[in-house]
Symmetry: C2
Subunit: 429 residues, 2 copies
């Protein structure tokens, strides 16, 4: 029977899950796939963590060099996170003829071109299903199933922490700060939550997914980014009245005018399948020119779901020795002539703290009209709990318009400071 030795770099949450899946399923994989997969080496500074998991003492490596020179290791699993030393370790593994499976979205997003070049040069595999959306089978689906499609759109809820926070805010009416604290206590948010709540994590993933979808590298620096820290319970409540649910969306669109890539909070209509993706669940909604709409839904994070993606890559690597790379462009930059659209089009929800005086609404709509924005819906009421002194909440939902026009209208309203303030601008998908 073919033997495949695995090394795991980092026994954190995902590394530990991966270790357990491989060891617990060893007989199963022998029986079903005819391959004996075993963990032959781990690189983990916290020796006691490795021992707790049941790793044999003589399989705990003390350096990446030791892993790379171990002839029993065929595949190196990198689950350390961050750029360095992960990058050097991955390149060392590739250089010594090991295939690599990684869950490191930041590393892969920023350096996939270097890693893939090295992998091709050394004729080893490089797999990265676990970089995006945990256990949800999105990358393999795009590579080996939906690959006959030209994708026009990809819309995802691809960060578990922010979806957990927004779901709790929507259900309970609590503020962002309250829910964040709770999420940190429960382990759903990190002590420093910046990468999640400011959208960086989603940006890395969207860069990888949209590069695959649109057949050109989408550098993460091209992706518009806005986090969820400013979302207020008041907007969530008004959204509900309008039939919307708030989500942090990662959006990629590809049309004849160019490519549009962005991560920001957005209102999603209750009729859209993404609107019922709650808590720490994630989903990716794809539209292709043949398949039409497809949604892939599941656990976007966690030891076992992400471990499932890693082990899927390990078995694929072990059983598909000829098929190890992406068939897509993987350069540092987008293809020449790729045009990135920054002036997004869409519907906008705008909440004002308006002066409570006659003619205020007509004044605001006149400014919108000046910038070519037509108003679809207005909510104005005085019986809302948090009315500020002398001001009333006023909501305007536009018809489809452009980002630039909205920005100009908002700037004009701010400049014309007669007391009415723009309290929130939220895109509607």
């Amino acid at each position: 029977m073919k033997k495949v030795g695995v090394a795991i770099l980092g026994l954190g949450v995902v590394g530990g899950g991966t270790y357990k899946i491989i060891t617990e399923h060893r007989e199963f994989y022998k029986q079903v796939y005819g391959v004996d997969i075993s963990v032959e080496s781990v690189l983990e500074l916290r020796r006691e963590r490795a021992l707790e998991l049941g790793v044999d003492e003589n399989k705990i490596a003390s350096s990446i060099g030791e892993v790379c020179s171990n002839p029993d290791v065929d595949i190196v699993v990198e689950v350390m996170g961050g750029v360095e030393p992960a990058k050097s370790f991955v390149l060392a593994a590739i250089g010594s003829g090991k295939s690599v499976v990684t869950s490191n979205k930041e590393l892969f997003c920023k350096y996939s071109h270097e890693l893939e070049k090295a992998a091709r040069h050394n004729k080893v595999g490089l797999f990265y299903e676990a970089t995006c959306v945990g256990g949800v089978p999105v990358i393999r689906a795009m590579l080996d199933n939906l690959q006959g499609n030209r994708f026009t759109s990809i819309t995802g809820i691809i960060n578990g922490t922010t979806n957990y926070i927004l779901t709790k805010m929507s259900n309970g009416g609590a503020s962002y700060d309250q829910v964040l604290k709770e999420a940190q206590k429960l382990g759903y948010a990190e002590a420093d939550p910046t990468s999640d709540v400011e959208g960086y994590d989603a940006v890395y993933k969207l860069s990888i997914l949209s590069s695959l979808a649109f057949h050109t590298k989408i550098p993460y620096t091209e992706i518009y980014r806005e986090g969820i820290t400013e979302i207020s319970p008041l907007d969530i409540a008004y959204g509900k009245r309008l039939g919307y649910v708030i989500k942090l969306l990662a959006i990629g669109r590809c049309g004849k005018n160019g490519i549009e890539v962005r991560v920001h909070p957005a209102f999603v209509s209750k009729d859209h399948p993404l609107s019922s993706v709650n808590d720490s669940f994630n989903a990716v909604y794809l539209t292709g020119d043949s398949v039409e709409d497809v949604m892939l839904y599941g656990r976007g994070a966690g030891a076992y779901p992400t471990g499932s993606a890693i082990v899927g890559d390990i078995i694929y690597c072990a059983t598909h020795p000829q098929h190890r790379y992406s068939p897509f462009d993987n350069t540092e930059k987008a293809k020449p002539n790729t045009k990135f659209i920054k002036n997004f089009s869409g519907v906008y929800y705008i909440r004002f703290k308006a002066e409570d005086r006659a003619g205020e609404l007509s004044k605001l709509t006149a400014i919108f009209s000046k910038y070519g924005i037509s108003v679809a819906q207005v909510i104005q009421d005085s019986d809302i709990a948090d009315i500020q002194k002398g001001k009333v909440p006023l909501i305007i939902v536009t018809h489809s318009t452009h980002e630039d026009a909205v920005n100009k209208a908002v700037a004009a309203i701010k400049k014309d400071n007669r007391g009415t303030e723009v309290a929130a601008v939220i895109r509607v998908i």
Copy 2:
């Protein structure tokens, strides 16, 4: 550049869609996959249909022999449906060294063991993503992504016609017969709808999907089957009051007591992601021991979505010459010692047309109690539109119990014929 010639057997809806996808994307596939894929032959008796689609006259074959002896054909796409002559044609293609891509669920479900044996013997590929759930990437996901999991459960809405009918019945309150007629007019149901509405189509697909999920052949004859023809608007309305939506479900479960496979209408809680899969959309909800819950959602039928699955298989076949078969058992029968559970457990919704007299409810619950069934919920009201003379609708929802117990209780109530009738029994998932 590698050239790959395709033959299409049957230019019906799916065959036509496949033809169009291949021809419209030819340059795209050359560019992205480095393979020149073209349709080199079609077998279609309606010559004018082929010409309408733009097939070159000299590429219209007049017999399967002509297709098989055509040296430009590498891959044969079988989209004819039915067992014969499809089976003979597929075996002829395999025998002459062509790989086969099929969308034929009945053929593959019943004869996969013969087809795979022939494919292995002739060292050609055999692909069948399009047999199940149209464009939804479920088979490739199970083979090449989630393959490290032991699946405990698979629950699917895998027939578009019945989901369309049940959605319309739920939205409009119309009867089954009315909606069926409408669906036939719109092309969502066939003139003879038996295969869809009686659940045969779903049974074939569940046989294929559960065989993959549970690593043993699940003969379709082992699958319990019940169609949707008896579903009444009244039950749909009561279901709504209870927080349920009616769906035709295909269910496979694998646990230590055995395997349970069944296709029947069921009430799904509104909180479950499957409850919002509407119209002709389909979805498969999988639970694996590592990945936890995954749902794959999309168009379960149609020229382009099913064509997308076929073309995905064609490109995979063209670019993965070493990987052509299922890594799973594919025998005619289940593995020895496989135990099929027939006495399902679960919650039951039972509607009575009850005699309107004192003590009737207590009499019924006494019978349930006798068979060990405990009652979770009762609805009894007299203001329902369709009260029959002297009878009132009475609904009992049980706690989790067993099918045998429910059948015995229902038989006892029928036997004890004091006027109260059992009008509907619907499982709740």
